[in-house]
Amino acid sequence: MGLESIISDIEISLNLEKDAEIVYKSIKPEVLTAPSQRSKLNIKRDKKKILFKIIAEDSHAYRASLNSILRWVIISLDILKLMKRGDI
């Protein structure tokens, strides 16, 4: 195919820095160990921002990596929400 690579930097901003720290720590082990034959992942945190880098060889690898990252971010945020509302 004509595509050589997809490189993306994703910056996810949360409302609170302490939430960003929890989400970052929750996701980091997965980002660093997820099996990825055709993509590389990296994660960093800067205050209330979580920064991901995806380097993929093709659109399938890119989409798979991105979907995993988004899934992990969303589940982490959903769990945080449980603890904040005090509705249980």
Partner: protein, 336 residues
């Protein structure tokens, strides 16, 4: 001290709450019904991601406690489907970090044994662990659970699930096969493969499907499939009992609810003067309570895990874990 356990090694999401005395305050679950091709890892991952928050709320309501009452978070670290495990691990880390409580990743197979021991009188059994993902014959020796025998290919639950999928019946296959098997007593010869204490089910699956395609009745095939697979399981469990000289058998995992398998093992145990145990149905298959309870045991004897050491282990071996809470009752030979 309250432990909240999150299970998600395959297609079933489970959340349980257990105290440090082994009182089960809650155990709730929700299974993904897979499409035609079986359980897809990413579908399971998405299912857990969507379901875990709901089940946590449900479990807390069932236990009549607040989320901030939780003192320990435990999760199924493996063995299982990679993407599924990762959803669970991420949720567990967030919960533990947010609540500022310890976290413990536990071995799924050992969890089945420990919930079995907790909910029955079994103390030091030979355990036959039979599920959709695993088939193992396990016994405690010298500080660890040893796998004396196991399937060399597919798990017995997977055998039943795949057979039902192939012949156009529903999922899970186990209950369907059990129901149809009761309508027959005509045995059709099928491959019986036992090697020492190991077993093979893939040839049995292929042969059964082939006979179906040649026109054999579903009732006769379900009867024959059960009789063959369960005789194999009973034989290897009998060998393990003789080999270890233990006097208890514990049947656990989702397939353990099967009455015919229970009957065969019970007869075998009677012949050996051994006690036979099976947990209540809700604690046979995958559940959150077993994860929460093993979390209590692991925390008491090993302490919590560092967040960096909570990475999942897709092929987490049963015999990798030290189980210091177990004490062998020794080889107690019966008097003549």
């Amino acid at each position: 001290m309250l432990s909240l356990g999150i299970e998600g090694t395959a297609e079933k999401t489970g959340v349980g709450i257990v105290d440090n005395n082994g009182n089960i305050l809650a155990s709730v679950g929700e299974a993904l019904i897979p499409q035609a091709g079986g359980i897809h890892p990413r579908e399971a991952a998405e299912h857990h991601a969507k379901t875990i928050p709901k089940l946590i709320k449900k479990a807390l309501n069932e236990a009549k406690i607040d989320i901030h009452d939780i003192d320990l978070v435990s999760f199924s670290k493996g063995p299982g489907l990679g993407p599924a495990l990762r959803s669970v691990a991420t949720a567990a880390r967030t919960l533990a970090l947010g609540l500022k409580v310890p976290i413990v990743g536990v071995n799924h197979c050992i969890a089945h044994i420990e919930i079995g021991r907790l909910t029955t009188s079994a103390e030091d059994p030979v355990s036959l662990y039979v599920s959709g993902g695993n088939t193992q014959i396990i016994s405690f020796e010298e500080g660890r659970y040893r796998v004396l025998g196991e399937t060399l290919d597919i798990a017995v639950g997977n055998l039943l699930d795949q057979f039902c999928r192939e012949v156009g019946l529903g999922h899970p296959g186990g209950p369907i096969v059990e129901k149809l098997a009761k309508k027959s007593s005509k045995y059709i010869q099928l491959p019986y493969t036992v090697k020492g204490m190991d077993l093979s089910f893939s040839g049995l699956l292929t042969a059964t499907i082939r006979k179906y395609e040649k026109g054999a009745s579903l009732e006769d095939l379900c009867y024959s499939l059960q009789e063959t697979a369960f005789s194999m399981l009973t034989e290897v469990t009998e060998r393990a009992l003789e080999h270890t000289k233990k006097d208890e058998v514990l049947l656990c995992g989702g397939v353990a609810v099967n009455k015919r398998l229970q009957e065969m093992l019970s007869i075998m145990c009677d012949e050996h003067g051994a006690e036979f145990y099976v947990p209540p149905a809700k604690y046979c298959g995958d559940n959150g309570a077993m994860i929460a309870w093993l979390g209590q045991l692991m925390y008491k004897y090993h302490g919590g895990d560092d967040i960096e050491n909570t990475t999942v282990i897709q092929r987490y071996r049963t015999d990798e874990v030290d189980v210091p809470w177990m004490k062998s009752l020794g080889s107690r030979l019966k008097p003549p």
